[in-house]
């Protein structure tokens, strides 16, 4: 049975402000159907998927696509219609299903449970992502949807993409790689893409705050810079391929290219010195580099490893996806790093991955777990699984990365984690520096934080006490000389 939506209503439908302003078909149709149901009840039901209420970062395109497909499949089998409201919420209007269905799982009434399970997998007390109501009993709730102005306006998924000749035939979200995308990415200065991010050990409960110290300086590619480089041609026009960092496989390939370039940069910077020149480096925290297996197994890394590192042996982070793709190569690299006395950090793990896989089986020295604001709100069962995984790995071997707030630190410390990385840690270190810096009042916390993160001399400009910017010194110690600036440019 299909819904009679074409006949004109008996009297004008009082459309809420938002619907009038947006003049969207979804709102108009829903208002129309509610009006008709009020006048002549037909026992219809509505299944509502509140995509606009998903917690940050909000719905991804596939959430909308799949939820819509499930609703449309149901509409096709039971009769009905799917509407999209301007905030992105989806509504299935269908005749009420018989109470006895041969396959209850195919009933519209089963959809909210399925979609809620798909969308809210582990958060405690989250608002159900979907619900079903009869139009008669749920009229007020549905009317509220029409009046909801708190969610942003969402466009329907674009079917065609500019500069993608196959958009219609292939798939939204997939565009052929622009042939020059990767070479363009690698054509600029490498040092400008780098940031130094501290991994710090935070004092335990009851220990003095002054015990906080940097244990590693992670030399990482600034993803914002990377995206900016990809998004625009030199002439300033936007172009295809700007979603390149979002493709997990291309990102890995690019990481390998960037990793080789970073190693070359470091060899230029450090390799020119004699072991005696390298003597000050043991005083700075060792560098932490994230490198793909292909680079670690190559000649570039062997040459880097052979540099006189003294007591500050670099530590190496390997993404768990790399290890999963080639466990044999991973085991070989792990043995090589052990022999070279370098720490191995397994990174790229979210709390979901911590439950799906057992990283400790791969025998790393440390495991880096990415902070998520969902962590303190996990449902009981999932929270226990994460706590078990942390205990299995050993909290002393965990690094909580992306720690951007006090709750992150609180969550980690409650589980016994002591190593943290993230903007909040950078800010805490800056605050500590400023306590002993006579120029603190001139600079301010934000500037001090940014200068410590910068990996180029330009990024550190303005600091009167660079000796307090504890760290690697790619910029501060070595790249300031004209020779090394030249070396950095040589990579361009």
């Amino acid at each position: 049975m299909s819904l009679a939506l074409t006949a004109a209503p008996a009297r004008p439908v009082p459309l809420p402000t938002r619907a009038r302003r947006g003049a969207r078909a979804g709102e108009l149709l829903l208002a129309d159907v509610l009006e008709r149901e009020a006048r002549a009840p037909q026992g219809r039901i509505a299944v509502v998927v509140r995509l606009s209420r998903l917690p940050p970062p909000g719905p991804r395109p596939y959430h909308r696509r799949v939820a819509r497909a499930l609703l449309e499949d149901c509409a096709q089998r039971h009769g009905g219609q799917v509407l999209q409201l301007s905030a992105g919420d989806l509504v299935l209007l269908a005749p009420a299903p018989p109470t006895q269905l041969a396959d209850p799982s195919g009933s519209p009434m089963a959809l909210p449970g399925l979609i809620t399970r798909l969308l809210h997998m582990d958060e405690q007390g989250a608002e159900p992502a979907a619900f079903a109501v009869t139009l008669a009993e749920g009229a007020a709730r549905l009317q509220a949807l029409l009046e909801d102005t708190s969610a942003p306006h969402v466009e329907e998924e674009a079917v065609a993409r500019p500069r993608n000749p196959f958009a219609g035939r292939l798939s939204p979200g997939f565009a052929p790689l622009a042939p020059d995308a990767v070479s363009r990415l690698l054509s600029g200065s490498m040092a400008e893409l780098l940031q130094r991010r501290a991994v710090a050990r935070l004092p335990g409960r009851g220990e003095p705050a002054a015990l906080m110290h940097t244990v590693h300086q992670m030399l990482a590619v600034d993803s914002a810079q990377l995206a900016a480089r990809l998004a625009h041609r030199p002439d300033g026009t936007a172009q295809a391929g700007s979603d390149l960092p979002h493709d997990p496989w291309l990102s890995r390939h690019i990481e390998a290219e960037l990793g080789r370039a970073v190693l070359a940069l470091l060899r230029q910077a450090w390799g020119s010195g004699t072991p005696a020149d390298a003597a000050p480096r043991p005083r700075v925290p060792p560098v932490l580099l994230r490198l793909p297996l292909a680079v670690l197994a190559g000649a570039e890394f062997a040459a880097f490893a052979a540099l006189p590192h003294g007591a500050s042996k670099p530590a190496i982070a390997i993404a768990i996806a790399e290890a999963a793709a080639d466990a044999t190569a991973f085991a070989d690299v792990r043995a090589m790093l052990r022999e070279a006395g370098m720490m191995l950090v397994l990174d790229g793990l979210t709390h979901h991955a911590l439950v799906l896989a057992r990283p400790e089986v791969l025998e790393p020295d440390f495991v880096a777990l990415a902070w998520s604001t969902a962590l303190p709100r996990l449902a009981d069962a999932r929270r226990e699984e994460v706590a078990e995984a942390v205990a299995r790995i050993g909290p002393a071997r965990l690094v909580l990365t992306g720690a951007d707030s006090e709750p992150a630190l609180r969550w980690g410390r409650a589980l016994g984690i002591q190593l943290f990385q993230g903007t909040h840690v950078d800010a805490m270190l800056a605050a500590t520096r400023q306590l002993s810096c006579p120029h603190a009042t001139v600079c301010g916390l934000r500037a001090c934080t940014q200068r410590a993160i910068a990996a180029t001399a330009v990024g550190r400009a303005g600091c009167a006490r660079p000796d307090l910017l504890d760290g690697l010194g790619v910029a501060g110690m070595l790249l300031q000389s004209s020779t090394h600036q030249h070396a950095a440019r040589g990579l361009t």
Partner: protein, 383 residues
Amino acid sequence: MTVLALPRHLAPPAEEAAGALEALVREVVATGTPRQALLLRLSRLPRALPHHLRLAMEALEPLTAADRARIFLLPNGDAAVVWRGPAAALLAETRTRLAMLFAGADDGEAGASAPKTALAVHLGLPEEADMLLAAATASVQPPAPAAPAAPRTPLDPATLGTLEEALGSADLSRFARRRPVCSLVTGEGMKLAWENRVLSLTELADTLVPGFDLEAAPWLFRRLTRILDLRMMALLSAPQELDQARPFALRLNIASILSPAFLRFDAALPSRLRGRVVISLRPEDVLADPPAFLFARGFAQARGFKLLLGGLTKLLAPAFPAEPGGFDHLELAWDPVLASTSLSRLGLRAERIVLSGVDSAAALDWARSQAIPLVTGPFARPA
């Protein structure tokens, strides 16, 4: 020579003997049927002479009386007899004859552990089938070595971009292949469980980007699989494509499961295949974006697809317990080092395992010993 007058089904002509022996051994291995064999390695005699063959026939003659005995005179002069059931007396008589006729030569050892110089080796099948297969293969004169293939260039981003554009319109149906996954049924040989639907990458590369190795740059190859997924699903969504299809498996990226192409494929799937299609995922894909995986898993399972986690090795398998991932099957790649361990020591339960790359009797033997229900590879052929 009386033996040479044996009926064809007992002793195929020399030019067919190697193939016939190989076929028999594979069948024995596939069905797990016990057989015995005596391999007579005349080619190992320091100076094999024409009369050795006649002597061998005389020596082996008693065994031809054993139940279902078949004799194979291999092209390199070796000979093998395969029979069923106990034949101790016949074997003993054969050994006596061998000792008399080949006086001075080592006259026989039991099992695959026999010294390399042993003239005759008594083998129990299917356990020691690999040795007999190796003898059959080695007996055929290898073809003259072909000119070494020109080294292929690894895929680079620019070529990948060009290839992706070309794949948008190329007809891929001629590259489509089906590879059987078989269930091991005790005493009944193998039954087809499903077909792995794949694309022949070598042929595809030879046609579209000759001289390039698609898999040499692993992450660029993984990126290429995105568009190959889309084209494969489009192929399968075509009218009539699935009408007569048997249950099958597709290896897909998670992003592909969440694409409109998958929704079209799902809509095109006939109801008789619903619940009988397997989607194979890779561990690196699961870990690259776990929320997307969990969403795709929930969606695919709600639509009745089975999920398989592929690419597991002895090293990796313990890091991926099946339960949290919610996988219906785990695909473990055969590696001879597995023979020295067991599934339980890897933390795996047999009922979900598919053993892939089964290319030897030893692999099949290990699968049976571990009660692994499903196998795929060159040795997996449905009866």
